[in-house]
């Protein structure tokens, strides 16, 4: 098994504005990540330079990559502005809906969901006018 996974991302409901106005994106995520969700061993883009990933962080414990890690990764590497509108208290800000492969993340364990290659994660803000 390769050391990285491709995760497809969709941002909508106005959330795309925080992510460079790109609704559909993808990221490469290491299969194992620091347990403290530190993302600094990863390159800072969604480009396909997977070879530069450091899959075995030199310090600290590791865990299988989960959605909680993905949220930190997106904040640190993909978010263009105002991270407080995306994250709050270590998770997604209330009012943003998350779907994992077309299923409400509340049915999939939320942040503890273990990512798999080619998963599609959809983030929809409900905080914009109706």
């Amino acid at each position: 098994m390769a050391g990285t996974m491709t995760i497809k991302l969709v941002f909508s409901g106005g959330l795309e504005l925080l992510f460079g106005n790109e609704r559909n994106q993808s990221v490469l995520i290491p299969s194992f990540v620091p347990s403290d969700n530190s993302t600094h061993s990863s390159p800072s883009s969604s480009s396909s330079t997977s070879s530069s990933y450091n899959n075995t962080p030199s310090t600290g414990e590791t865990k299988a990559a989960d959605l909680e890690y993905l949220i930190y990764h997106l904040r640190d590497h993909l978010l263009k502005e105002r991270s407080e509108l995306f994250m709050e208290n270590g998770t997604i800000r209330p009012g943003i809906l998350v779907l994992i492969n077309n299923t409400d993340w509340e049915l999939e364990g939320e942040g503890s969901y273990q990512l798999r290659n080619n998963d599609e994660i959809v983030f929809i803000s409900t905080l914009h006018g109706g």
Partner: protein, 353 residues
């Protein structure tokens, strides 16, 4: 985690956890319960009768887009016998409303409903862009709110409709309950949970999504792949509602039933008759004929302030008196059209696409 099966049909894979009940349900059961609950809200409140002409206040946003779709679905499924129209207000906000109106025009085609767009410029002679240029970003929401409410009524009159439905959802109403409690506005607190309101001579207004959670409305739009527009108004900080909203979303995260609980609490408040009686009696505006609690209705007052270059001073009664003291209104102040007796109905019929 193993896929959970639907707690209603016990067959298909659950795709949504309902915030109201905690039930885990599949896509088809979700569509069915969402639509059926709105149907029950409509029938239990006896909102409509056969033959009613109903305008859907359509902004192109998620709530009104889902409302238009669900109203069309229920009208066909349960044979309400309603004539449905889309009614959109163009506030004249470049880069915001012009884009969202494009969505409404697509909805007109998709849902095959007549559409009427009424602009602030047409009614008041001012766009919001021009208003903000004159008065700045402070207080501009006051103008927009008063102008939009009246524009919906006037647009509805021009369509000869009996009823306007809006996409206000459970989250919006719970927010308003909280805001009215925090502001101590007892009169509004008594009114804000009503599903249907009717002024002296205005058209009925109601909120069929009163008990529909925002989460479910957005999920419904997502799974039905409905076409909606989502961008914050470029002029709207509406900070007070923003605080109430953030607070409510935090409550919902801790206890999803909080939203419906707050609405029920709001409904349980009883405002004493003498408090209601203390509100000003309704009359009609001496300039345009719209219902009003003063000689001039709010829109005419705001418009006069704009025309006389004293816009920022007409928000309060005291400022209004000051303006009157300077002198009477010039003769050329615009009379805002009421459309009471318009014989023809100007709507854009959907063309075949």
């Amino acid at each position: 985690m193993a896929p959970t099966s639907c707690s209603l049909c016990r067959d298909a894979k659950a795709i949504l956890k309902r915030p109201k009940t905690g039930q885990q349900i599949c896509k088809d059961c979700f569509f069915f319960v969402f639509e059926t609950e709105v149907h029950h809200t409509i029938t239990e409140s006896e909102l409509f009768k056969p033959g009613d002409r109903v305008a859907i206040g359509a902004s192109g946003g998620k709530d009104s887009t889902v409302l238009a779709y669900v109203m069309k679905t229920l009208n066909e499924r349960y044979k309400y016998g309603l004539d449905l129209f889309l009614l959109s207000i163009d506030e004249g906000i470049t880069g915001y409303r012009d884009d969202s109106l494009e969505t409404v025009k697509r909805n007109q085609q998709q849902y095959d409903m007549p559409l009427k767009i009424l602009s602030y410029n047409e009614l008041y002679g001012w766009t919001m862009d021009a208003i903000v240029e004159q008065i700045g970003k402070k207080n501009n929401c006051t103008f927009c709110g008063v102008f939009r409410r009246q524009a919906l009524d006037r647009g509805a009159a021009s369509l000869h409709v009996d009823h306007i439905v809006t996409g206000h959802n459970a989250d919006d109403i719970a927010e308003t309950v909280l805001m009215n409690i925090m502001r101590g506005d007892i009169a509004r607190l008594g009114r804000c949970t009503l599903i249907c309101t009717q002024g002296e001579d205005t058209i009925k207004r109601s909120k069929p999504f009163k008990y529909a959670y925002e989460k479910e409305i957005v999920m419904y739009a997502y799974f039905k792949k409905l076409d909606y527009f989502s961008t914050e108004c470029i002029y709207s900080p509406d900070a007070y509602r923003g605080h109430a909203r953030t607070f409510l979303k935090d409550l919902e995260a801790a206890r999803p039933s909080a939203i419906i609980d707050i609405i029920h609490s709001g409904e349980a408040f009883e405002v004493k008759e003498e408090i209601k009686a203390a509100q000003k009696a309704q009359q009609t505006c001496k300039r345009c004929g719209y219902m009003s609690s003063n000689d001039l209705c709010k829109a005419c007052t705001l418009l006069e302030g704009l025309e006389r270059g004293m816009a920022s001073s007409v928000i309060t009664d005291r400022a209004r008196k000051k303006m009157d003291a300077i002198g009477p209104a010039p003769d050329n102040i615009r009379t805002i059209p009421l459309f009471r007796s318009t014989p023809t109905i100007a709507v854009e019929l959907p063309s075949q696409s």
